[in-house]
Symmetry: C2
Subunit: 425 residues, 2 copies
Amino acid sequence: MVDAAIQSGTADRDCMFEAFARRLPTGRRYGVVAGTGRLLELIRQFRFETEELTWLAENSVVRTPTLDYLADYSFNGNVWGYQEGEAYFPGSPLLLVESTFAEGVILETLILSVLNYDISVASAAARMVSVSLGRPIAEMGSRRTNEHSAVAAARAAFIAGFASTSNLEAGRQWGLPTMGTAAHSFILLHDSEEEAFQAQVDAFGAATTLLVDTYDVPAGIALAVRIAGPELGSIRIDSGDLPTVVAAARAQLDSLGAVNTKITVTSDLDEFAIAALSASPVDAFGVGTSVVTGSGEPAAGLVYKLVAHKGHGDDWISVAKTSTAKLSIGGRKNALRRVDAIGTAQEEIILLGEGPGTEGQHDSRSGLERALLVPLIIDGTVDARFLGPAGTLRARAHNASVMQELPIEAFRLGRGEAVIPTTYR
Amino acid sequence: MVDAAIQSGTADRDCMFEAFARRLPTGRRYGVVAGTGRLLELIRQFRFETEELTWLAENSVVRTPTLDYLADYSFNGNVWGYQEGEAYFPGSPLLLVESTFAEGVILETLILSVLNYDISVASAAARMVSVSLGRPIAEMGSRRTNEHSAVAAARAAFIAGFASTSNLEAGRQWGLPTMGTAAHSFILLHDSEEEAFQAQVDAFGAATTLLVDTYDVPAGIALAVRIAGPELGSIRIDSGDLPTVVAAARAQLDSLGAVNTKITVTSDLDEFAIAALSASPVDAFGVGTSVVTGSGEPAAGLVYKLVAHKGHGDDWISVAKTSTAKLSIGGRKNALRRVDAIGTAQEEIILLGEGPGTEGQHDSRSGLERALLVPLIIDGTVDARFLGPAGTLRARAHNASVMQELPIEAFRLGRGEAVIPTTYR
């Protein structure tokens, strides 16, 4: 596309691209924006290096004028978006990219890859957090997704309220709290469960978490308390019918005087399994596969569309595909969320025909309409507040605040429609 | 685990770890091994660098003896595995890692991340290929998965028989055939569909693929043939009720004399949609979301378990978790596939108590039992035949041959059981 547009003289037309989701994942009532902090850093660094240009040339993928263009590429346009951690709904204009056609279209795959995956994880994670009743959830799914996705998933889950991750690289890169546990292999490595528990307590003290379900859970619990004493920090249970097993484990721990010993459960948990443990004396959850694969919705379904360009003049021309299926709504947009007097979200308002950054015009509509689009990149310069560990913490805090704003029906797990309507003005 | 094992003196025990799937994805009849070539290169390069060691030390994740161990880490053990592209079934010992405990357990996350994702993609892709009736399928899903996963997905789909990918980085890294198409944004960028088609034909000639569904499909087809002439290479349709639209498009193209113009369809295709187009005059498919997310099964469900160790002596001791749920079968294993006289697979045979590389002992069982485990890494040295573009081509060829061997029932799309039984001897 860039090659043909350079040849036809349209590559440098001013354009507005928009990333949005036509619908939420099936049955979900809201989605959670994530990936922005990662994406901004990746856009800032996005260049074509010699080895890539050489390959493109040798394989005749593009012609010389395009190679020259790519060799000089860096993004110098503007990007506005929903803040990372924000809730979103069908049609919410999650990211707006204003640049030349070539500059903006080259970023399509990067933008959608990052947002589709990270939003999928954060949207699933938020549902798990909302049914965890304040009990901490650790992200432990690195083994169930691509090795790079694993780091991104840990970050997205943390933004949506997970307490920690077992992915140490995510701790190093993004400043996330990390945790670790012993697996069955550690128990099986030793000559007996007793020797394994003793080795772990020798290494980490009684406050450690002992995995008690390798051979027999009641025997494992008795052994764990005998070795670590009633000061044992925690036990972990990774199999079995959890409500039954957890209730019995709590009673056994209490009878052994280990009344402060916590119970951590892990075992193919998802939001439904966590909800089913509402009344169980679980102290902490570990979630793997379901969170890193978006709990049944591994891609958020965002698309990236050209919605306006300047053509030959200075005026924006709205454009959209108009054949019968997969309709899009063209034009530059702004977005507000209307909240009622007690601060509960009521409506997602998309302002048609206005660009982002115009919400100052809407002061008269009262403070009950919150502007959703913030400038992320202006003239190629990224707002550094959204980057790195600090940006990740900011996103988590924003998400916590936004979750308070959603109507309570948002947190029902059963299938339903978006919890607030999207309307166009 | 490594920290505690170093302290307890068990870290250097000889161990055998095994990666396997307890079951196939729901309703699937076989799975396809993929990721091996990527994994071998990643194991070869696996090191802890200064920045990682510094972070581990500063955050007190592990203690000094462990930091010293990690600083010197490189994998020096043995790995056997099913060849990349091989079919597998529940319990198939897909990867066997023989090393010290510390050496092998450190690789757990890397091994499972790579295999769980790549196998998910290849297993879905194989189903699509088997119902495509020989018509080429292009992988176009980069935008619907993490930006690094996208490259891995392109490679895994190619191994399972996809013809090409739109991911140029996958072309560069792995030598895959690449393709590109124009999106709706290219049409919308221009002042009219006519100008857009003309620009594309000027750039690439009449053999290009024109996207005809931006405004009105019949009008788009008429325009495409008028501009490119009946030599037009291909049209692409990305929306609508495909069987109806495709049939009408073929008739229209033929009536315009464009009898050799091909029809490419893309539009949320999966194996079921491709099968539904069996009788339609489609010449090529483009598949996105469904293949890169494993078509409903985004993680293959492989686990990595310690199955044997040498304890204090030279004899292997089989170990396995024995509590009630998530049972594993301990011990070193070998694996054979029994085929009948006409070469159709009949049975997956797991030999218990034998290590890999012992299949020479089974010559008397006749040539109708094919050995499944091949040495991939011996004493830390990777077999280079499985690496890079050459290894990827080898995997694709192996997959093509293995697909011929499966019973025809393997290719039914409806839910069912594994097409051959797994038996233990």
